[in-house]
Assembly symmetry: C2
Homo-oligomer: 213 residues x 2
DNA sequence: TAGATTGTTAATCGATTAACAATC
DNA sequence: TAGATTGTTAATCGATTAACAATC
Protein backbone atom coordinates (compact mmCIF):
# COMPACT_ATOMS: atom_id res chain seq x y z
CA UNK A 1 0.00 0.00 0.00
CA UNK A 2 3.04 2.27 0.37
CA UNK A 3 2.59 4.39 -2.71
CA UNK A 4 5.99 6.05 -2.62
CA UNK A 5 8.34 3.46 -1.15
CA UNK A 6 11.11 2.64 -3.53
CA UNK A 7 10.23 -0.58 -5.29
CA UNK A 8 13.23 -2.73 -6.08
CA UNK A 9 14.07 -3.64 -9.63
CA UNK A 10 13.90 -7.32 -8.68
CA UNK A 11 10.20 -6.90 -7.97
CA UNK A 12 9.56 -4.92 -11.17
CA UNK A 13 11.21 -7.58 -13.26
CA UNK A 14 8.86 -10.21 -11.88
CA UNK A 15 5.72 -8.27 -12.81
CA UNK A 16 5.64 -9.26 -16.49
CA UNK A 17 5.92 -12.88 -15.45
CA UNK A 18 2.98 -12.56 -13.06
CA UNK A 19 1.12 -10.89 -15.86
CA UNK A 20 1.76 -13.81 -18.21
CA UNK A 21 0.67 -16.39 -15.67
CA UNK A 22 -2.49 -14.47 -14.86
CA UNK A 23 -3.25 -14.20 -18.56
CA UNK A 24 -2.92 -17.98 -18.84
CA UNK A 25 -5.24 -18.48 -15.86
CA UNK A 26 -7.80 -16.18 -17.46
CA UNK A 27 -7.66 -18.22 -20.64
CA UNK A 28 -8.29 -21.33 -18.56
CA UNK A 29 -11.37 -19.64 -17.08
CA UNK A 30 -9.93 -19.75 -13.59
CA UNK A 31 -11.50 -16.88 -11.69
CA UNK A 32 -9.71 -16.98 -8.33
CA UNK A 33 -6.32 -18.11 -7.12
CA UNK A 34 -4.48 -18.16 -3.81
CA UNK A 35 -0.87 -17.10 -3.46
CA UNK A 36 -0.13 -20.70 -2.54
CA UNK A 37 -1.55 -22.18 -5.71
CA UNK A 38 0.03 -19.52 -7.90
CA UNK A 39 3.35 -20.12 -6.17
CA UNK A 40 3.19 -23.80 -7.08
CA UNK A 41 2.46 -23.02 -10.71
CA UNK A 42 5.25 -20.47 -10.93
CA UNK A 43 7.86 -22.26 -8.86
CA UNK A 44 8.34 -19.46 -6.35
CA UNK A 45 7.18 -19.00 -2.76
CA UNK A 46 3.72 -17.78 -1.81
CA UNK A 47 5.42 -15.37 0.53
CA UNK A 48 7.25 -13.73 -2.32
CA UNK A 49 4.06 -13.31 -4.31
CA UNK A 50 2.29 -11.64 -1.40
CA UNK A 51 5.28 -9.41 -0.67
CA UNK A 52 5.60 -8.41 -4.30
CA UNK A 53 1.93 -7.59 -4.75
CA UNK A 54 1.79 -5.65 -1.52
CA UNK A 55 4.38 -3.24 -2.85
CA UNK A 56 1.58 -1.90 -5.02
CA UNK A 57 -1.56 -2.50 -3.03
CA UNK A 58 -3.71 -4.99 -1.19
CA UNK A 59 -5.18 -6.75 -4.16
CA UNK A 60 -6.27 -9.88 -2.35
CA UNK A 61 -8.92 -10.78 0.14
CA UNK A 62 -8.36 -12.82 3.27
CA UNK A 63 -9.87 -16.26 3.11
CA UNK A 64 -10.46 -15.96 -0.62
CA UNK A 65 -7.22 -15.22 -2.39
CA UNK A 66 -6.99 -13.09 -5.49
CA UNK A 67 -9.52 -12.53 -8.23
CA UNK A 68 -7.61 -13.45 -11.37
CA UNK A 69 -9.15 -10.89 -13.67
CA UNK A 70 -8.84 -7.95 -11.32
CA UNK A 71 -5.27 -8.86 -10.37
CA UNK A 72 -4.44 -9.17 -14.07
CA UNK A 73 -5.85 -5.72 -14.64
CA UNK A 74 -4.07 -4.23 -11.65
CA UNK A 75 -0.69 -5.53 -12.78
CA UNK A 76 -1.46 -4.41 -16.32
CA UNK A 77 -2.10 -0.92 -15.00
CA UNK A 78 1.12 -0.92 -13.00
CA UNK A 79 3.05 -1.95 -16.11
CA UNK A 80 1.27 0.62 -18.24
CA UNK A 81 -0.48 -1.78 -20.58
CA UNK A 82 -3.44 0.59 -20.63
CA UNK A 83 -1.27 3.62 -21.24
CA UNK A 84 -0.03 4.15 -24.74
CA UNK A 85 3.67 4.19 -25.34
CA UNK A 86 4.65 5.68 -28.68
CA UNK A 87 7.43 3.57 -30.12
CA UNK A 88 9.78 3.90 -33.07
CA UNK A 89 12.17 1.37 -34.51
CA UNK A 90 15.54 2.71 -35.60
CA UNK A 91 17.19 0.33 -38.04
CA UNK A 92 15.05 -1.76 -40.37
CA UNK A 93 17.40 -4.69 -40.84
CA UNK A 94 16.51 -8.20 -39.78
CA UNK A 95 16.10 -7.38 -36.12
CA UNK A 96 14.09 -4.23 -36.77
CA UNK A 97 11.84 -6.15 -39.11
CA UNK A 98 11.43 -8.93 -36.57
CA UNK A 99 10.40 -6.45 -33.89
CA UNK A 100 7.99 -4.67 -36.23
CA UNK A 101 6.14 -7.95 -36.58
CA UNK A 102 5.83 -8.61 -32.85
CA UNK A 103 2.16 -7.71 -32.85
CA UNK A 104 1.78 -8.67 -29.23
CA UNK A 105 3.69 -5.55 -28.22
CA UNK A 106 0.50 -3.73 -29.28
CA UNK A 107 -1.50 -5.56 -26.66
CA UNK A 108 1.00 -4.46 -24.05
CA UNK A 109 0.45 -0.78 -24.77
CA UNK A 110 3.29 -0.21 -27.22
CA UNK A 111 2.21 1.56 -30.38
CA UNK A 112 4.62 1.48 -33.29
CA UNK A 113 4.38 4.82 -35.07
CA UNK A 114 7.56 4.97 -37.11
CA UNK A 115 10.41 2.97 -38.59
CA UNK A 116 13.65 4.60 -39.68
CA UNK A 117 16.74 3.60 -41.58
CA UNK A 118 19.42 5.26 -43.66
CA UNK A 119 19.61 2.58 -46.35
CA UNK A 120 18.04 3.99 -49.58
CA UNK A 121 16.99 0.49 -50.57
CA UNK A 122 14.82 0.21 -47.47
CA UNK A 123 13.43 3.73 -47.27
CA UNK A 124 9.94 3.82 -48.72
CA UNK A 125 9.22 0.13 -48.21
CA UNK A 126 6.49 -0.84 -45.79
CA UNK A 127 6.57 -3.06 -42.74
CA UNK A 128 3.17 -3.77 -41.28
CA UNK A 129 1.60 -0.75 -43.02
CA UNK A 130 4.32 1.55 -41.76
CA UNK A 131 6.60 3.10 -44.31
CA UNK A 132 10.29 3.03 -43.53
CA UNK A 133 11.44 6.63 -43.32
CA UNK A 134 14.81 8.27 -43.74
CA UNK A 135 16.49 8.55 -40.35
CA UNK A 136 17.72 11.99 -41.40
CA UNK A 137 14.12 13.15 -41.20
CA UNK A 138 13.68 11.82 -37.67
CA UNK A 139 14.09 15.23 -36.01
CA UNK A 140 11.31 16.60 -38.20
CA UNK A 141 9.16 13.56 -37.45
CA UNK A 142 9.55 13.87 -33.69
CA UNK A 143 9.01 17.67 -33.63
CA UNK A 144 5.24 17.43 -33.16
CA UNK A 145 5.12 14.14 -31.23
CA UNK A 146 6.12 12.50 -28.01
CA UNK A 147 8.16 9.37 -28.52
CA UNK A 148 8.36 7.22 -25.42
CA UNK A 149 10.61 4.47 -26.66
CA UNK A 150 13.12 4.01 -29.47
CA UNK A 151 14.08 0.44 -30.29
CA UNK A 152 17.68 0.61 -31.47
CA UNK A 153 18.45 -2.07 -34.03
CA UNK A 154 21.34 -0.41 -35.82
CA UNK A 155 24.81 -1.83 -36.42
CA UNK A 156 27.19 -1.93 -33.47
CA UNK A 157 29.38 0.97 -34.56
CA UNK A 158 26.45 3.27 -35.22
CA UNK A 159 24.66 2.59 -31.95
CA UNK A 160 26.29 5.26 -29.74
CA UNK A 161 25.74 8.10 -32.22
CA UNK A 162 22.18 7.05 -33.00
CA UNK A 163 21.43 6.67 -29.30
CA UNK A 164 22.77 10.13 -28.59
CA UNK A 165 20.82 11.61 -31.44
CA UNK A 166 17.44 10.19 -30.44
CA UNK A 167 18.06 10.92 -26.76
CA UNK A 168 18.94 14.53 -27.58
CA UNK A 169 15.62 14.86 -29.40
CA UNK A 170 13.68 13.88 -26.30
CA UNK A 171 13.00 10.18 -26.63
CA UNK A 172 12.46 8.93 -23.09
CA UNK A 173 13.55 5.32 -23.24
CA UNK A 174 16.00 3.34 -25.33
CA UNK A 175 15.73 -0.38 -25.96
CA UNK A 176 19.27 -1.30 -26.86
CA UNK A 177 20.04 -4.42 -28.90
CA UNK A 178 23.75 -3.80 -29.37
CA UNK A 179 26.20 -5.66 -27.13
CA UNK A 180 27.44 -2.55 -25.37
CA UNK A 181 26.59 -0.43 -22.36
CA UNK A 182 25.49 2.92 -23.69
CA UNK A 183 26.89 6.00 -22.02
CA UNK A 184 24.65 8.91 -22.85
CA UNK A 185 24.87 12.52 -21.69
CA UNK A 186 21.10 12.77 -21.61
CA UNK A 187 18.58 11.82 -18.99
CA UNK A 188 17.13 8.77 -20.68
CA UNK A 189 16.11 5.33 -19.46
CA UNK A 190 18.05 2.52 -21.08
CA UNK A 191 17.06 -1.12 -21.13
CA UNK A 192 19.55 -3.50 -22.66
CA UNK A 193 18.69 -6.76 -24.37
CA UNK A 194 22.24 -8.05 -24.82
CA UNK A 195 21.40 -11.22 -26.70
CA UNK A 196 24.98 -12.40 -26.86
CA UNK A 197 25.32 -12.10 -23.07
CA UNK A 198 22.24 -14.28 -22.67
CA UNK A 199 23.58 -16.82 -25.15
CA UNK A 200 26.93 -16.97 -23.37
CA UNK A 201 25.22 -17.65 -20.05
CA UNK A 202 23.35 -20.49 -21.74
CA UNK A 203 26.62 -21.79 -23.14
CA UNK A 204 28.20 -21.68 -19.69
CA UNK A 205 25.31 -23.56 -18.14
CA UNK A 206 25.34 -26.25 -20.84
CA UNK A 207 29.09 -26.68 -20.38
CA UNK A 208 28.79 -26.72 -16.59
CA UNK A 209 26.21 -29.46 -16.69
CA UNK A 210 28.40 -31.60 -18.91
CA UNK A 211 31.32 -31.17 -16.52
CA UNK A 212 29.21 -32.59 -13.74
CA UNK A 213 28.31 -35.72 -15.67
CA UNK B 1 40.38 -20.81 -6.44
CA UNK B 2 37.57 -23.05 -5.16
CA UNK B 3 37.04 -25.18 -8.21
CA UNK B 4 33.85 -26.86 -7.06
CA UNK B 5 32.09 -24.27 -4.92
CA UNK B 6 28.71 -23.45 -6.32
CA UNK B 7 28.99 -20.24 -8.27
CA UNK B 8 25.90 -18.09 -8.08
CA UNK B 9 23.98 -17.19 -11.20
CA UNK B 10 24.46 -13.50 -10.37
CA UNK B 11 28.19 -13.94 -10.86
CA UNK B 12 27.79 -15.93 -14.09
CA UNK B 13 25.57 -13.26 -15.56
CA UNK B 14 28.23 -10.64 -15.00
CA UNK B 15 30.92 -12.58 -16.86
CA UNK B 16 29.85 -11.60 -20.39
CA UNK B 17 29.90 -7.98 -19.32
CA UNK B 18 33.46 -8.29 -17.97
CA UNK B 19 34.35 -9.99 -21.21
CA UNK B 20 32.99 -7.06 -23.23
CA UNK B 21 34.83 -4.47 -21.18
CA UNK B 22 38.08 -6.39 -21.40
CA UNK B 23 37.64 -6.68 -25.15
CA UNK B 24 37.25 -2.90 -25.32
CA UNK B 25 40.39 -2.40 -23.22
CA UNK B 26 42.31 -4.70 -25.53
CA UNK B 27 41.19 -2.67 -28.52
CA UNK B 28 42.44 0.45 -26.75
CA UNK B 29 45.83 -1.25 -26.30
CA UNK B 30 45.56 -1.13 -22.53
CA UNK B 31 47.64 -4.00 -21.21
CA UNK B 32 47.00 -3.88 -17.46
CA UNK B 33 44.15 -2.77 -15.25
CA UNK B 34 43.46 -2.68 -11.54
CA UNK B 35 40.13 -3.74 -10.07
CA UNK B 36 39.72 -0.14 -8.97
CA UNK B 37 40.06 1.33 -12.43
CA UNK B 38 37.87 -1.34 -14.01
CA UNK B 39 35.26 -0.72 -11.32
CA UNK B 40 35.14 2.96 -12.26
CA UNK B 41 34.70 2.17 -15.94
CA UNK B 42 31.97 -0.38 -15.25
CA UNK B 43 30.15 1.42 -12.49
CA UNK B 44 30.47 -1.37 -9.94
CA UNK B 45 32.71 -1.82 -6.88
CA UNK B 46 36.28 -3.04 -7.07
CA UNK B 47 35.39 -5.44 -4.30
CA UNK B 48 32.77 -7.09 -6.43
CA UNK B 49 35.17 -7.53 -9.32
CA UNK B 50 37.77 -9.19 -7.11
CA UNK B 51 35.15 -11.40 -5.46
CA UNK B 52 33.71 -12.41 -8.81
CA UNK B 53 37.04 -13.25 -10.39
CA UNK B 54 38.20 -15.18 -7.36
CA UNK B 55 35.33 -17.58 -7.80
CA UNK B 56 37.30 -18.94 -10.73
CA UNK B 57 40.92 -18.33 -9.82
CA UNK B 58 43.53 -15.84 -8.76
CA UNK B 59 43.98 -14.09 -12.06
CA UNK B 60 45.60 -10.97 -10.68
CA UNK B 61 48.89 -10.05 -9.15
CA UNK B 62 49.36 -8.00 -6.01
CA UNK B 63 50.72 -4.57 -6.63
CA UNK B 64 50.13 -4.88 -10.36
CA UNK B 65 46.48 -5.63 -11.03
CA UNK B 66 45.30 -7.76 -13.90
CA UNK B 67 46.84 -8.33 -17.29
CA UNK B 68 44.04 -7.42 -19.68
CA UNK B 69 44.79 -9.99 -22.34
CA UNK B 70 45.23 -12.91 -20.00
CA UNK B 71 42.14 -12.01 -17.99
CA UNK B 72 40.20 -11.70 -21.24
CA UNK B 73 41.35 -15.15 -22.23
CA UNK B 74 40.58 -16.63 -18.81
CA UNK B 75 37.04 -15.32 -18.83
CA UNK B 76 36.66 -16.44 -22.43
CA UNK B 77 37.66 -19.93 -21.37
CA UNK B 78 35.24 -19.93 -18.47
CA UNK B 79 32.43 -18.91 -20.82
CA UNK B 80 33.44 -21.49 -23.39
CA UNK B 81 34.38 -19.08 -26.16
CA UNK B 82 37.14 -21.45 -27.15
CA UNK B 83 34.89 -24.48 -27.05
CA UNK B 84 32.65 -25.02 -29.99
CA UNK B 85 28.93 -25.06 -29.38
CA UNK B 86 26.95 -26.54 -32.24
CA UNK B 87 23.85 -24.44 -32.75
CA UNK B 88 20.69 -24.78 -34.81
CA UNK B 89 17.97 -22.25 -35.43
CA UNK B 90 14.43 -23.58 -35.41
CA UNK B 91 12.09 -21.21 -37.20
CA UNK B 92 13.40 -19.11 -40.09
CA UNK B 93 11.00 -16.18 -39.77
CA UNK B 94 12.20 -12.68 -39.07
CA UNK B 95 13.75 -13.50 -35.72
CA UNK B 96 15.44 -16.65 -36.96
CA UNK B 97 16.84 -14.71 -39.90
CA UNK B 98 18.03 -11.94 -37.63
CA UNK B 99 19.86 -14.43 -35.40
CA UNK B 100 21.41 -16.20 -38.38
CA UNK B 101 23.05 -12.92 -39.30
CA UNK B 102 24.53 -12.26 -35.87
CA UNK B 103 28.00 -13.18 -37.00
CA UNK B 104 29.52 -12.21 -33.69
CA UNK B 105 28.01 -15.33 -32.13
CA UNK B 106 30.70 -17.15 -34.13
CA UNK B 107 33.43 -15.32 -32.27
CA UNK B 108 31.89 -16.39 -29.01
CA UNK B 109 32.17 -20.08 -29.88
CA UNK B 110 28.70 -20.66 -31.30
CA UNK B 111 28.72 -22.43 -34.64
CA UNK B 112 25.52 -22.34 -36.64
CA UNK B 113 25.19 -25.70 -38.41
CA UNK B 114 21.53 -25.84 -39.34
CA UNK B 115 18.35 -23.84 -39.85
CA UNK B 116 14.94 -25.47 -39.86
CA UNK B 117 11.41 -24.48 -40.69
CA UNK B 118 8.20 -26.13 -41.84
CA UNK B 119 7.17 -23.46 -44.33
CA UNK B 120 7.65 -24.86 -47.87
CA UNK B 121 8.34 -21.36 -49.15
CA UNK B 122 11.36 -21.07 -46.89
CA UNK B 123 12.74 -24.61 -47.14
CA UNK B 124 15.61 -24.69 -49.61
CA UNK B 125 16.44 -21.02 -49.35
CA UNK B 126 19.79 -20.04 -47.92
CA UNK B 127 20.69 -17.82 -45.00
CA UNK B 128 24.41 -17.11 -44.70
CA UNK B 129 25.31 -20.13 -46.84
CA UNK B 130 23.14 -22.42 -44.78
CA UNK B 131 20.17 -23.98 -46.49
CA UNK B 132 16.91 -23.91 -44.58
CA UNK B 133 15.89 -27.50 -44.02
CA UNK B 134 12.55 -29.14 -43.35
CA UNK B 135 12.04 -29.41 -39.61
CA UNK B 136 10.52 -32.85 -40.22
CA UNK B 137 14.00 -34.03 -41.15
CA UNK B 138 15.54 -32.70 -37.94
CA UNK B 139 15.67 -36.11 -36.24
CA UNK B 140 17.63 -37.47 -39.18
CA UNK B 141 19.91 -34.43 -39.15
CA UNK B 142 20.71 -34.77 -35.46
CA UNK B 143 21.24 -38.54 -35.57
CA UNK B 144 24.97 -38.30 -36.30
CA UNK B 145 25.69 -35.02 -34.53
CA UNK B 146 25.76 -33.37 -31.14
CA UNK B 147 23.66 -30.25 -30.98
CA UNK B 148 24.44 -28.09 -27.99
CA UNK B 149 21.92 -25.33 -28.46
CA UNK B 150 18.66 -24.86 -30.34
CA UNK B 151 17.48 -21.30 -30.82
CA UNK B 152 13.71 -21.47 -30.81
CA UNK B 153 12.16 -18.79 -33.01
CA UNK B 154 8.87 -20.46 -33.79
CA UNK B 155 5.38 -19.03 -33.27
CA UNK B 156 4.06 -18.94 -29.72
CA UNK B 157 1.63 -21.84 -30.06
CA UNK B 158 4.20 -24.14 -31.61
CA UNK B 159 6.93 -23.46 -29.07
CA UNK B 160 6.07 -26.11 -26.46
CA UNK B 161 5.80 -28.96 -28.97
CA UNK B 162 8.95 -27.92 -30.85
CA UNK B 163 10.82 -27.53 -27.57
CA UNK B 164 9.76 -30.98 -26.46
CA UNK B 165 10.73 -32.47 -29.79
CA UNK B 166 14.25 -31.05 -29.90
CA UNK B 167 14.82 -31.78 -26.20
CA UNK B 168 13.72 -35.38 -26.70
CA UNK B 169 16.29 -35.72 -29.48
CA UNK B 170 19.12 -34.75 -27.14
CA UNK B 171 19.66 -31.04 -27.68
CA UNK B 172 21.29 -29.78 -24.49
CA UNK B 173 20.20 -26.18 -24.30
CA UNK B 174 17.22 -24.20 -25.52
CA UNK B 175 17.28 -20.48 -26.19
CA UNK B 176 13.64 -19.55 -25.93
CA UNK B 177 12.28 -16.44 -27.64
CA UNK B 178 8.60 -17.06 -26.91
CA UNK B 179 7.00 -15.19 -24.02
CA UNK B 180 6.36 -18.30 -21.95
CA UNK B 181 8.12 -20.42 -19.36
CA UNK B 182 8.74 -23.77 -20.97
CA UNK B 183 7.93 -26.85 -18.93
CA UNK B 184 9.78 -29.76 -20.42
CA UNK B 185 9.93 -33.37 -19.25
CA UNK B 186 13.55 -33.61 -20.35
CA UNK B 187 16.77 -32.67 -18.66
CA UNK B 188 17.60 -29.62 -20.73
CA UNK B 189 18.98 -26.18 -19.90
CA UNK B 190 16.61 -23.37 -20.83
CA UNK B 191 17.55 -19.75 -21.19
CA UNK B 192 14.70 -17.35 -21.85
CA UNK B 193 14.99 -14.10 -23.76
CA UNK B 194 11.47 -12.80 -23.06
CA UNK B 195 11.68 -9.63 -25.13
CA UNK B 196 8.22 -8.45 -24.16
CA UNK B 197 9.10 -8.74 -20.45
CA UNK B 198 12.14 -6.57 -21.04
CA UNK B 199 10.09 -4.03 -22.99
CA UNK B 200 7.47 -3.89 -20.25
CA UNK B 201 10.13 -3.20 -17.64
CA UNK B 202 11.38 -0.36 -19.83
CA UNK B 203 7.84 0.95 -20.14
CA UNK B 204 7.41 0.84 -16.37
CA UNK B 205 10.65 2.71 -15.80
CA UNK B 206 9.76 5.40 -18.35
CA UNK B 207 6.35 5.84 -16.76
CA UNK B 208 7.82 5.87 -13.24
CA UNK B 209 10.24 8.61 -14.15
CA UNK B 210 7.46 10.76 -15.58
CA UNK B 211 5.43 10.33 -12.41
CA UNK B 212 8.32 11.76 -10.41
CA UNK B 213 8.55 14.89 -12.53
C1' DT C 1 -18.92 -19.09 13.35
C1' DA C 2 -14.91 -21.81 11.53
C1' DG C 3 -11.72 -22.11 7.89
C1' DA C 4 -8.93 -20.06 4.72
C1' DT C 5 -5.80 -16.89 3.23
C1' DT C 6 -4.23 -12.39 3.17
C1' DG C 7 -1.11 -8.41 4.72
C1' DT C 8 2.70 -7.54 7.38
C1' DT C 9 6.31 -8.08 10.76
C1' DA C 10 10.26 -10.77 12.06
C1' DA C 11 13.94 -14.15 10.89
C1' DT C 12 16.95 -15.97 7.63
C1' DC C 13 19.66 -16.18 3.86
C1' DG C 14 22.64 -14.69 0.26
C1' DA C 15 24.91 -11.12 -2.14
C1' DT C 16 27.49 -6.96 -1.90
C1' DT C 17 30.77 -4.02 0.24
C1' DA C 18 34.49 -2.91 3.41
C1' DA C 19 38.70 -3.88 5.52
C1' DC C 20 43.18 -5.55 5.76
C1' DA C 21 46.89 -8.97 5.83
C1' DA C 22 49.54 -11.13 2.19
C1' DT C 23 52.56 -10.42 -1.47
C1' DC C 24 54.17 -8.85 -5.87
C1' DT D 1 62.57 -1.71 0.25
C1' DA D 2 58.15 1.00 -0.24
C1' DG D 3 54.00 1.30 -2.70
C1' DA D 4 50.34 -0.77 -4.83
C1' DT D 5 46.91 -3.95 -5.26
C1' DT D 6 45.39 -8.44 -4.82
C1' DG D 7 42.94 -12.40 -2.35
C1' DT D 8 40.13 -13.25 1.39
C1' DT D 9 37.75 -12.68 5.73
C1' DA D 10 34.41 -9.99 8.18
C1' DA D 11 30.58 -6.61 8.19
C1' DT D 12 26.70 -4.77 6.02
C1' DC D 13 22.93 -4.58 3.31
C1' DG D 14 18.96 -6.09 0.82
C1' DA D 15 16.07 -9.68 -0.72
C1' DT D 16 13.69 -13.86 0.35
C1' DT D 17 11.26 -16.79 3.41
C1' DA D 18 8.71 -17.88 7.60
C1' DA D 19 5.36 -16.89 10.89
C1' DC D 20 1.20 -15.22 12.52
C1' DA D 21 -2.32 -11.81 13.74
C1' DA D 22 -5.96 -9.66 11.10
C1' DT D 23 -10.00 -10.40 8.59
C1' DC D 24 -12.90 -11.97 4.90
Amino acid sequence: MNSDKKISIAVIKRLPRYYRYLSDLLKMDITRISSKELSQRMGITASQIRQDLNCFGGFGQQGYGYNVESLYNEIGNILGVNDKFNVVIIGAGNMGQALSNYTNFDKRGFKLIGIFDTNPELIGKKLRDIEIMDFNTFDKFISDKTIDIAMLCVPYEKTPSVANKVASLGVKGLWNFSPMDLEIPYDVIIENVHLSDSLMVLGYRVKEKQRKM
